[in-house]
Structure formats: C-alpha cells, structure tokens
Symmetry: C2
Subunit: 329 residues, 2 copies
C-alpha cells in the first residue's frame, strides 16, 4: 500500500510550522511568523495559503517521482497547538499573541477552506504521539513525554494511546506541587514543578549561584542567558552551570519519582531546550529517580531524550490524522 500524505501544522505563539509528512517521514517544510498576522482571520488565511502551496507542490513531487494519473490528495491536516484545546470539537480555546483568539473552531474553518479532514490536539500530546510512532518511545505501551521550556508540559501514553483524562486535561506534569508552600504559579496554585525547573528557574539558579544575589540586576548577561547557553557553559567546565543542571535534575527527579511510582511507565521522554544539557541534566535526574523511586519501577523505566526533536509534534500530528480520528463539525 502506498503511504498516505498528511500536512502537519504546528501552530505556536512565535511561528507556525508546516510539514508535508509521508508515513512517519517529513518530506518538506515551511514556516511563517505568527506575530506578522495581526488578527485571527489574517492568520487563518495565512495558514490556508501555506497549506494550499504545500498541496500543489505535492503534485509536482508526485509527478516527478511516481507519474500519477490524477490529482494527488492529502489524507488530512493535523494541527498541534499549545494550551487548552478541545480535540473532540477541533476548537483552540486560546492562542498567545493573537488578539481576539478565543474558542476558534480551527478544524471546521480549515476543513471548509481546504476540503480535507482536519484534526487538532495539544502540542505535547502530539509530541508524545510522534515519539511513540517513530521516536524514543517507539512501541511502548505506557510512556510519559515531557517538554521543558518556559512552561513544562506532559503527554501520557497508556496502552499505546494518548491518555486524556475525564475532562481532556490530563498530563499537566508541570503543575505537580513539589513543596508544601512555594511561589505562586500562573495556574492559580503554588509550588508547582514549573516554577523550579522551567527556563526562568534554570536561569535564576545559575545567576544566583554564579553572580550572587547582589549582581542579579546587572543588564548585559541577564538579557542573553538561556538554558542552551548554560549547557554550553557546563560543557566548558563552568562549575556554576554544572551545579545549576544538578539542582534542576534533582528537582525534576523528585517529581518524576512520583510519576514512576504512580504510573510505572516503560519510558519517560524529555524534550525542549533543556534536553541539550545532556549528561549534566540526565545524570543527576536518573540518579535521583534510581535512588528515590521504588526498586521495581525504577529498574523498569528508561529516562531518555526526545529522538525526533522539534519534529516530534509534526510527525505526531500526521499520526493523529492517520489514526482515523474524525471531528464532527
């Protein structure tokens, strides 16, 4: 059987990424800056235009490779987006940086404009689905995928499928409390994991250790410092950077110990900018889980870096389309 084509869309706050996916492979890519589109309608039109171009380029690709007798269709369009999404209705509730974006039935709008099935889901769920299909969680029955960045998100795989929970909001591992009291979080709670291992916390840990609290307000370094830079510093032997990753790993390891004891997964896949810290993060992280989690589940679980990197969500979006999910709209 010939593999089907899918157009995957990663609808983020900064960029909208597009990919033509065949099976589990990305054949071509495009990208547009989200912020260049000032309104909801402009952005949706922009997306429709890009998808049309991808589909028309697909004809050329097919003609060159397989000489098809008729117009080649895509099986559908799969969209991933951060935050609160109703995958059953194909509605994106919020989108950062776009004014007037509230409860937009994206799937329905795109289906009408493009005439092909459209499905959508939370980007972390799609990352999990991508890693499950062709990445670090390939073939796993039970897995947890985590993306670390400004926020810390999670996708849970149970019995080889995305586990969504009773009101479709499962997987919010970034909001696991790690202390009885603690700093206020955007989610309304306090002491959440995200406040301890999110990008801001990582940079804060490094600054606190390295420059001391007094110099925290000095401009230049503050502007540029990112977890990626701290990873580079660690590789160059900067002890404060190594220590930053150690503390981050221990704290993330504490939360993952709870997940390992509770869910007994085969594999925990970690993605996002921090995954580049490599052994500096994964060393203390695995160590903490090995020491703190119960013997049997600790021996069972593998804690690994994402394999597909930023492509995991795009491959996952294609998987969602090919899984046969259909949205009634």
């Amino acid at each position: 059987m010939r593999k089907k084509y899918v157009v995957s869309v990663d609808l983020g706050g900064t960029n909208v990424k597009f990919a033509l996916v065949k099976g589990k492979k990305i054949i071509s890519r495009r990208e547009i800056p989200t912020k260049a589109y000032k309104t909801k309608d402009a952005l949706l039109k922009g997306i429709v235009g890009e998808v049309r171009e991808i589909i028309s380029a697909l004809q050329t690709y097919e003609v060159c490779n397989y000489k098809p007798r008729r117009f080649v269709k895509v099986a559908g369009i799969g969209i991933g987006t951060p935050g609160l999404v109703d995958y059953k209705k194909g509605v994106v509730h919020h989108l950062v940086n776009i004014k007037g974006w509230k409860d937009v039935p994206v799937a329905s709008i795109l289906r009408k404009a493009l005439g092909v099935p459209v499905v959508l889901d939370n980007d972390v769920n799609l990352m999990a689905l991508g890693e499950l299909a062709a990445g670090a969680a390939k073939g796993a029955k039970n897995a947890v995928c985590i993306t670390m960045g400004t926020g810390v998100g999670g996708g849970i795989i149970i019995d080889g499928k995305i586990y969504r929970g009773s009101s479709l909001s499962a997987g919010e591992i970034g909001h696991t409390p790690v202390t009885l009291k603690g700093p206020k979080c955007n989610c309304g709670g306090w002491g959440c994991l995200e406040k301890y291992v999110g990008n801001k916390a990582i940079v804060g840990r490094y600054r606190g250790t390295f420059l001391g609290p007094r110099q925290n307000h000095s401009g230049a370094t503050k502007l540029r410092l990112t977890p990626e830079e701290i990873s580079r510093k660690a590789r160059r032997g900067d002890r404060a950077a190594v220590r930053t990753w150690k503390e981050t790993g221990e704290c993330l390891g504490m939360a993952l110990t709870g997940v390992v004891n509770l869910l007994n997964p085969e594999v925990i896949v970690i993605g996002g900018g921090v995954a580049g810290a490599g052994k500096f993060l994964f060393g203390p992280l695995r160590d903490t889980v090995r020491k703190r989690a119960m013997d049997l589940p600790a021996r069972t679980v593998k804690i690994v870096r994402v394999k597909l990197g930023n492509d995991a969500g795009l491959v996952g979006a294609a998987e969602l389309v090919l899984s046969g999910l259909r949205i009634k709209n």
Copy 2:
C-alpha cells in the same frame, strides 16, 4: 441469569477474612487470625478448610432458598493480599508475620486443593475494583483509590479497568515525594507522602502539637493513640486534633493536586482508618485541591470516602473472578 457465587479471601498480616459473595453482595463471612498459623503450610491448610466450610454451607443456603437439583458450585475464589503480588502467575511474594513466606504460588496451591479457579491481586487494586463495581467510584471511567493506614496505598482505574503499569507495580501513591529532602522511607527513598500522612505521622502531629516535644516519651497516652481516637477528639472539639487533621489534609491535598493535574480523574476514593475523620480531613483536603490544582481538573474531580468500607476488597475479589481472569498454573 442466576448470579454466580464467589468465595473472596482477604489475606492480611493480622487476619484472613472470608466472604461468600453473590454478584456484588456479601452473603456470609468468616475470619481467622493469621498469626495463629505458624507456618506457610499451616496457614494454607487453614484457608482451604475455611473455604470448604463456606462452600458446604452454601449447599444448605441453596437448598433452603432455591431447592437445587445438584451440588452448587462456586465460580471461583478471589484473593487479595497486601504488598507485592504477581496477579498473572497467582504468586504472593511476601506476607508479613508468616515465616518462610516467599514467592508462594497461592493460586495454584488452592486450585489443586479445592478444584475451582483461583485468582489473586493486590488488596488496594481489589478495593478499587470493588468501589468501581458497587461503591463510590461506581461507573467511573478514570478513578484513583487510596487506602490510608500504617502505609498509604493506591489503585488506579483507567478506562474502567485496573491500570497496572509496565511491571505491574503502578499505583504506589504513598511513595510520592512531597519534599526535596526528608525522612528516609522503608521503600528506599525519602520524603515520601506516607511519612507525612501515614498513621504514625498523624499520631506524631497530634503529639507534637498537644503535648509538646518534651513529653513525647511519656508512656500511657503514647500506647493507645490512634487516628480513630484523634478523630473522636476532633469531634469533641479538641483543637490540637482539628489541627492535626488540617495539616494532614493539606499535605495529602498537595500530593493529590499532582495526581489531579496529571491524571484528571473523575473521582478519588479514600479509605482506611483515617476516612473516619470525616469533614476534619476531607474539608482541608478538598480545599487544598480546589486551590492548588488547575481549574478544569479541580472542578471535575470528586474526592470522597469509600462506600463499601472494609468490604470493598472482598467485593473487588469477586469482581476479579467474574471478570474472567484466568491464571495459568
């Protein structure tokens, strides 16, 4: 269709409880003290004897009620036991207080002696199954059941079935870390929830508040104090007892916030001695989850007391037999 009979056995460290179950209802009960049997073989013989008596009493019951034409058979025997159990092989790895109890193929031994199918599982899983069938989690798709006592155990229901994890050890909610550092736990880790909301911690909280640290070693009160007694004191208006339950609820609420955000369950069912604290525990517990968990899953979840009480495990054992699980032995 006539409902089938099952003999349920709750094989605990203190007592072995037996019940004849018809459908989801307990018809008769028996009990023997575990410690009266000094060896593994003596205890197993004792169990076989009790089960035989239950089955023969069943004949009398049937004759009186339905006048059956032939010997009435039970559909099987379901056994629940604490600790590490291999439900697939029907093996109980450990049993507290019984010498030489190591990796005993209980299901196989009882099947040979009694000639009926025998299945077994962890007692917390069976409690969850019982509450799902006829108790506080009735009809739930996703639920978490927790038993609180000396230890804190958990059973997870996903998609209406027990979720067991990749090496059959899922559900160990008592070993969720609640602090970065903390007291050493029997599990090998540290800072586990059990150390903060187990019976010992509850009594310790009360003593610390009430008598002050210096008098902690005074004999008489120390010997008798139990969570049940602290509940009675709270109902009588003892402020230290009320405070003990408040602190316990806040700490349990912190761990359950993580579970609610991660698994987005419909219901969390809490059983064990502490459930008798009623509003003194459940008030601060529900309050903490409402405040700390994310809005949507916090609004979704109900946090309730077990409905079947100590019978949940016995009803669950019958459910396991009727589910058609068969052990190859």
